[in-house]
């Protein structure tokens, strides 16, 4: 398959890259690892006339401590995330989810920034970062801003990014002591995309759940917090009955945008969301406290 024709730029600095985005505003797309964008271009679902490849810019690939939290460069690959000792120790669900993206060859190219910017409804990392919390740092030629992850995913394949902005970094907060995390996913056997995936970050103190962030992907049009589920968990002892009841509400927020396609019906996705919410919550609760 051949993509439409486009002009290609491979800047070596962020200043050049953001200038190019401003100059070709509305026409240009940012090319990161390319493992979402290139397949879409081959199918002609995306036909940008200009690509700004940020793969030749040094210094966008890192995982490092940042105050109490962790900062991740936008060009950090899935493979780097799954093998990073800092990610594994601080956010085990992020390392685990990264290791479940597609396959090794894809994980060698695909990036966290690309995944978030693309906002595929079946992507893994948007839900995981949403469950962890934190923010996306985006830069234009003139300025830089932090976008809370809770406001970042806007709609199907749509984020709060402006078309002259490049994601440079993802900032993750420190998780309080007593926090457990998990990501549970039912994947398409060919693409390994999430038919449903649920990320859970749960804090338990004195036997009671004090904080819970649960995010669902694959089921609806974008990664979405399961707030009803979170409300049921918070303030309670996480008994099997409480977890079951909370998980049964996990598809509530995506009910209006449920995907229904050749891979899974809406009804089946609702069921899978509940099953994987239960698994993710159980696993996160077991690791918490």
């Amino acid at each position: 398959m051949v993509t439409s024709n486009f002009d290609y730029f491979a800047p070596t600095t962020l200043d050049e890259a953001t200038s190019l985005l401003s100059r070709y505003r509305g026409e240009a797309k940012v090319l990161a690892g390319g493992h979402s964008l290139i397949p879409m271009m081959k199918l002609r679902l995306a036909e940008p006339t200009v690509l700004v490849d940020i793969g030749k810019i040094d210094g966008l690939s890192y995982v490092r401590e940042d105050g109490d939290g962790v900062a991740i460069g936008s060009m950090t690959t899935y493979r780097e995330l799954e093998t990073s000792s800092l990610v594994k120790s601080r956010y085990p669900l992020l390392a685990d989810a990264a290791s479940k993206v597609a396959d090794l060859q894809v994980r060698n190219r695909g990036t966290i920034g690309g995944s978030l910017a693309h906002s595929d409804p079946a992507g893994d990392l948007p839900a995981v970062v949403l469950a962890i919390g934190g923010s996306v740092v985006a830069r234009t030629r003139r300025s830089s801003r932090e976008i809370s992850i809770d406001r970042f995913q806007v709609d199907l394949l749509t984020t709060a990014l402006h078309d002259n902005e490049i994601i440079t970094e993802i900032k993750l907060p420190a998780l309080p002591s007593g926090t457990g995390t998990a990501y549970s996913k039912f994947h398409n056997p060919a693409s390994h995309y999430a038919i449903t995936g649920v990320a859970a970050v749960i804090t338990v103190s004195g036997g009671t759940c004090t904080e819970a962030r649960i995010a669902v992907t694959g089921a609806g049009d974008k990664a979405t917090r399961a707030r009803r589920t979170e409300r049921i968990l918070k303030g309670k002892e996480l008994t099997p009955a409480v977890i079951r009841r909370a998980a049964s509400r996990a598809a509530a927020e995506v009910q209006d945008t449920l995907n229904d396609d050749i891979f899974a019906s809406a009804e089946y996705r609702t069921h899978l969301t509940q099953v994987h919410a239960q698994r993710a919550i159980e696993e996160a609760a077991a690791a918490a406290g």
């Binding site: 398959m1 024709n5 491979a10 290139i38 060859q105 894809v106």
Partner: protein
């Protein structure tokens, strides 16, 4: 627009002027005439097009040739030294790790990378490592045996 790129493939630098939309796999096959790298699904799934890009195993159907400008690429043609096979190639020969052979270049390039990351993989690790490579003939058993044999020979 056309772009001049220089890619070092199997140790030799090649300079060519290409359209930005030319995929790396087509650059290898159609420009350099290195047809050992196969196009299978063309949708980033089957792994027949796997090559090494700066030593990482990647799917060359999902990389533009312009992205490979200035990099080093190794293809299946770059492995053997004359008649002397690598342990992975020898493993596929000895264990009959193929039937039609279409997936084999990608399988071998992935296996070479896997064994660099993990020289002593378990059978489960080999199978997990091959998640991005499809074989429609063998049922994978002999491919897994071949990589196991290569690991043993390499130790």
């Amino acid at each position: 627009m056309t772009v001049e790129i220089t890619v070092t493939v199997n140790g030799t630098a090649h300079t060519a002027t290409v359209e930005p939309r030319l995929l790396l796999v087509h650059f290898l096959r159609d420009v350099l005439d290195l047809t050992g790298t196969h196009v299978g699904c063309d949708t980033s799934q089957c792994g027949a097009c796997t090559v090494h890009l700066n030593e990482d195993a990647v799917k060359s159907c999902t990389v533009f040739a312009v992205q490979a400008d200035g990099t080093e690429v190794t293809t299946i043609e770059g492995l053997a030294d004359g008649e002397s096979y690598t342990p992975v190639q020898q493993g596929f020969w000895d264990e009959h790790g193929l039937q039609c052979g279409f997936c084999t270049p990608g399988m071998i390039m992935t296996a070479e990378w896997l064994l660099k990351q993990n020289p002593d993989p378990s059978e489960a690790e080999i199978r997990a490592g091959l998640a991005g490579n499809y074989c429609r003939c063998t049922g994978y058993q002999n491919i897994v045996n071949a990589i196991g044999a290569a690991a043993k020979a390499g130790r």
